[in-house]
Amino acid sequence: MVTVRDKVDLLVVGSGAAGSVFAAEASAAGKQVVLLEAGPARTPDHLVSSQLWARRHKWGGAHVEEEGDHRVGHNFNAGWGTGGSTMHHYGVWPRLHENDFQTFTQYGQGLDWPLQYAELRPYYDRIQGTVGLSGDAIQERWRPPGDAYPMPPVPVFGQGRLLAEGFSRLDMHTAPLPLAINTIPYRGRPACLYDGWCDAGCPIGALGNAQTVFLAEAMQSGAVVRNEATVTRLLTSTDGKRIEGVEYRSADGSAHRLYAEVVVLAAFTVQNARLLLASANSRHPRGLANSSGLVGRYLMTHPTVSLYGLFDAETQPALGPTGGQLINQDGYDNKLAVKDAYGSFQWIIANAVKPNGLLGIANNRPDIYGSQLKPFLQRAVKHLGVMTLVAEDIALRENRVELSSKRDVFGVPLARAVHNQGKPSAALVAHAVQQGKAVLDAAGAREQWRGPQAGMHIMGGTVMGVDPAGSVTNSYGQSHDIDNLYIAGPGLFPGSGAVNPTFTVHALALRAAEQMLRNWP
């Protein structure tokens, strides 16, 4: 039991996507692992099917201040509790493309990654085998090299069929959406029921998240999750060369210290940067791992816009996974295709929707109220089609996480996330939205409208790179400054690509965990 020792082998801050992979690998290798998780304990029984109850899975820690014309939407995009954001994530798991990795060299935009797709590919393939992905690699004509999916794709319901016809009439293509969702029983987990409750968490375990896969493995090998344990500071040795452990607060507010051979910071993008900055000491006056001055910098979020159409035919919008049924990445590989614009984009097609919630049917037409509302909802629950744009963001130094002058209940400065959209990225979104409208027209939508632009996923802030002066970590997420400190999660991404990040988060974490174990101090 950890309580009799105040030092463990591996201490992981955060029990989400990235932390759970480190924990599983290290505990399987015989290391004593503790995960400190700020949020509450969550088991499948807590995953009540309700868009109201789903809100308990959203970030419940210290307030994050936001600024800028394109905010990252922290509290919508961040989860908390066992499993982190993955607990109620939608399992849309495409791979980055080969041209996402060298954007500065190839296009003069953003930053280069310190590794290429080919180096990451084996880790994508292994994660895919462990988690189980459904999809159709052949129909994904744009997909970079990789193993075929171990499961057949999700079925296509009414709205998916109609929207696919729209793409097809414009000589565009759709393929089944690659999903970390079982379509057949896989490794002891059941198949999906296509009831659209992913946002509230999938209690049957059909969706591959931290709890159903890597955290479960870690705990079987003896890893321990301490919930309601909020890390407030990372502690270094007096010479500043090693990380020794962390300070954390438990639910009753009492302060504790836990020491470890290696610390993995996996508290998601904004909190990772915040903790590093807030842990400044005399040896690291600008914050830990921050000799480059880049901790917090290059914050990114995917610009996203949802388009909606009403069709004459029934569309079954209640059915299917929340994440969607189909994908289009036709133009992904030409980041310079649109004048004055830069970047790739994808369409995620036919999301299952509920009447309420921020992404729900009613809130996608906020102009309708009063006596018009019910007739609209009655029609839309049967005839709505949805497709969602995910566009590339450009890593800009001025977009950042910094410390606020305000503090949380434990005295730690709050994070302020500042994010503005670059012009080429805005031009890309404008182009893509026009394309999407044409698709809805071609699909036969009687009426169509668009939602506002928002930020989806949060990346950057602790970017990886080759040059210690131009990045925070090496390609394994290991701090350039402190060898036994690893940083994990999408905060490492030097570029956003235009795909959902969590498959890549897993692949990077697996690669990093293996390097960590090979070089165990």
Partner: protein, 184 residues
Amino acid sequence: MEPLQQRRRFLKALLLAYPLVSGALLLSPAEARQRKLPLSVLDAEEAADLETVIEALVPGSAGAGAVHFIDYQLARPSADSLLMLRYLGVAEPHVNFYRSGLMALARHSIERYGKRPAELPAPALDQLITDLITDDTQDWAGPPASFLYFVWRSDGIDVTYGTEDGMAVLDTPYMAHIRPEQVW
């Protein structure tokens, strides 16, 4: 942790329920309203104005207990809140958002229409809603009016259509894995 093997489960069914004294009395927000149970955060005038406006935005939401729902959420620790506001980037405590919004609304209503929202005749109430939507609000000292409109409308929708009963009214299947059985 063993992966859950069971398929969809239907629990015996407390529907959405509302706790009063230490969970001793479980009621839906609608029942709480019918019984005129006291609110713990909002005062009578605030509650009346809020109910009037939300009902105008989402007909049926007053009877569904929107105000009791909001009041209960505002009274609990924000990490447990089921209000949509928790992920819209508004600093806590969220009661400040609702209270300052209601205060601004009442002041605007009195200045422009001579009465509080709860006392307005239908045409003036319609106009008040239009003011909110269009941010046609001079000397407004609260959260942006159109944002309040969005949040209150959404609260009304939550209570009216985000439940099993609400989805049944819309004739769309609920298909719960685990039905909401705990108190709000």
